[in-house]
């Protein structure tokens, strides 16, 4: 496809369709309404189904049913709506059903605000609903990444038979950037040999998560665990930026990573040229722990920047296993810092750490 100017939510919607997603179930909530609106226009034209459900609860359970019936299917929402979806996400993780769930994060807790935020990190990376499970969490930084990650998320969901969360935020969802929508060449979604289609000429298929007998649940949970380990081994994605000569490494994802990049560029251009680099996690689960730990062999200071009071910082801390020194700056709502504002804050932390090193 040609390069087009698109906002993030529309790019997600079109990429999903290109990836073979013909079913969308959702419920309106700001700041992601352009996504269902786009789907409501496009899906009927490609023999797909768009259905506005009576709630997020209902929408995600329609997703569960459509996935069980063998379809590539997606839902999207923003923070409060994602809270409502958690029960069925837990069921789908347990039933090993693929689906893509988009969360265009807004401020919380409660009704919060309708501007962007990164306060759903824990909810996304710790399973979110009840029980011992994880979901793959993808964190795009640009509209192009929103498109690419959406496109790949359907394959990831199918490969591992698990729900995938695409974690964007209101800024990424609304802003327009040039984007090339990925297109599939002769790609048809894989056949699901577990889908319910009517037991014609074969044994009955049952999709369930209830295991009351004997060792069944234990074995099921270990099976899921092994799958999650495999995902941790194979699917970690991140980017590094100017780490080679850096004295301090910023860790940030999504919109926060973009602001931080702007700040780093400014600081590097200044007279003294502050040597700051960055690690940008692109998967939040599995988290790029190894690169953080390895970086700590030659960089001692890590500056975590999040648009919340600090959630990913826990994963950075766990990754460092006691080594290194963590700095933090968070913005849990209201106006986001500009790159120059963040640059001043980063510089302060940088000089503090330099002084400490000299002592």
């Amino acid at each position: 496809m040609n390069k087009e100017l698109m906002n993030g939510t529309s790019a997600i919607a079109e990429s999903a369709i290109q990836a073979g997603c013909k079913y969308y179930f959702g419920y309106p909530i700001t700041p992601q309404n352009e996504l269902p609106e786009y789907m409501s226009r496009r899906l009927p034209k490609v023999d797909g189904v768009f259905l506005q459900a009576e709630s997020e609860l209902s929408a995600i359970n329609m997703v569960l049913g459509a996935s069980a019936a063998g379809a590539r299917v997606m839902t999207s929402s923003s923070s409060p709506g994602i809270s409502l979806k958690q029960e069925a996400i837990s069921y789908m993780a347990a039933q090993e059903l693929p689906a893509v769930i988009v969360n265009i994060m807004r401020g919380g807790p409660g009704l919060g605000h309708i501007a962007f935020s990164q306060a759903d990190y824990f909810q996304s990376t710790r399973g979110g609903g009840h029980g011992d499970y994880r979901t793959i969490v993808l964190a795009p930084c640009t509209v192009q990444e929103m498109a690419d990650m959406t496109f790949n998320s359907f394959d990831l969901a199918d490969t591992y038979r698990t729900p995938v969360i695409l974690l964007g935020d209101g800024m990424l969802g609304q802003m327009m950037e040039p984007v090339v929508i990925p297109t599939a060449k002769n790609k048809s979604p894989p056949r699901r040999d577990y889908a319910v289609t009517g037991a014609k000429g074969r044994e009955q298929r049952v999709i369930k998560s209830f295991f009351v007998e004997g060792k069944d649940l234990k074995e099921h949970n270990w099976k899921l665990f092994r799958k999650y380990k495999k995902i941790e081994q194979n699917e970690v994605r991140y980017e590094t930026y100017l780490l080679d000569d850096a004295e301090m490494a910023v860790v940030a994802y999504g919109t926060a990573a973009r602001i931080a990049k702007g700040a780093i560029n400014r600081l590097r251009k200044e007279d003294e040229g502050l040597r700051i680099g960055m690690i940008i996690p692109k998967t939040l689960w599995p988290f790029p722990s190894r690169v953080i730990k390895e970086t700590s062999r030659y960089i001692s200071d890590f500056f975590v920047f999040e648009l919340c009071t600090g959630q990913m910082i826990d994963d950075v801390r766990l990754s460092l296993e006691g080594s290194g020194h963590i700095h933090f700056y968070g913005r849990p709502g209201s106006v986001v810092p500009t790159p120059s504002e963040l640059a001043r804050i980063m510089a302060r932390h940088y000089y503090q750490s330099q002084r400490k090193k000299k002592k």
Partner: protein, 245 residues
């Protein structure tokens, strides 16, 4: 000798786990008989709920997707939209369909989804130990209405069949009971009609089945069947509530 009664093909060869006198086993069997007779076994998909029918897939030998509590109508909607040629039906208790899943049920009905709800009304939450359900009768004692259901604080028994029959999206709704052979026959006929309406794509269909739960009613099976006649049917009158021709 002519065989006049045997296990339906669609019923698996395992003993039911339900208590003696439970209506669920009868209803399971009726469904299995109909799947055979209507030649639907190979294209039927059911969504069993949490509740005493949670193991429906062990008995009715068709594809099944377990629904979260109350969400049967939404899960079935998702399935049906992907597989419009399949017979898709939910199987739901009264707690499931008329309390936690009310919204899903009403809206699926209002959209006129081509699905069938098999709605088992036993006036209690049976699986969790006999708590009060939205269909519990006035004055009926349950483990969470130990002094009897009081309409001032707990409301009146909810009548889903009557409510849903006011929706344009519904095409066949009947309330039946499985407390004696005559009623069981009618129940089977009702489910058959509902399935046929679904196949004919006329609208949302539902069969509400008054069903004995001797254990939680603290009665023996015979008393339970009698209680349905003498008490339950008075509150929940049987009959076709809606049928579009």
């Amino acid at each position: 000798m002519k065989k006049i009664y045997s296990r339906p093909k669609s019923l698996s060869k395992v003993p039911f786990h339900h208590c003696p006198g439970c209506g669920h086993s009868i209803i399971h069997r009726l469904i299995a008989e109909l799947l055979d007779e209507m030649d639907l076994q190979e294209r039927a998909i059911c969504t069993p709920p949490p509740g005493c029918s949670v193991f429906a897939y062990n008995y009715i030998n068709i594809d099944m997707v377990e629904a979260p509590h109350g969400r049967g109508a939404a899960v079935a909607t998702g399935i049906k939209r992907v597989r419009p040629d399949c017979l898709v039906f939910t199987y739901q208790g009264d707690g499931d369909l008329a309390a936690i899943g009310t919204a899903e049920t009403l809206h699926a009905a209002n959209r006129g989804e081509f699905i069938t709800a098999i709605f088992v009304n036993n006036a209690v939450y049976a699986m969790t130990g006999g708590q009060m359900a939205p269909t519990t009768l006035l004055g009926q004692k349950t483990t969470t209405s130990p002094y009897g259901r009081n309409p001032q604080s707990e409301g009146e028994p909810i009548k889903m069949s009557e409510l849903l029959s006011t929706f344009k999206g519904t095409s066949y709704i009947e309330r039946v009971a499985v407390n004696n052979p005559k009623n069981i026959k009618k129940a089977k006929k009702a489910i058959q009609k509902a399935f046929q309406h679904q196949i004919d794509k006329t609208g949302f269909t539902l069969v509400e089945i008054l069903s004995p739960c001797p254990v939680n009613w603290k009665m023996d099976p015979l008393q339970s069947c009698k209680w349905i006649d003498e008490v339950m049917i008075k509150e929940f009158p049987l009959g076709v509530k809606k049928e579009i021709k």
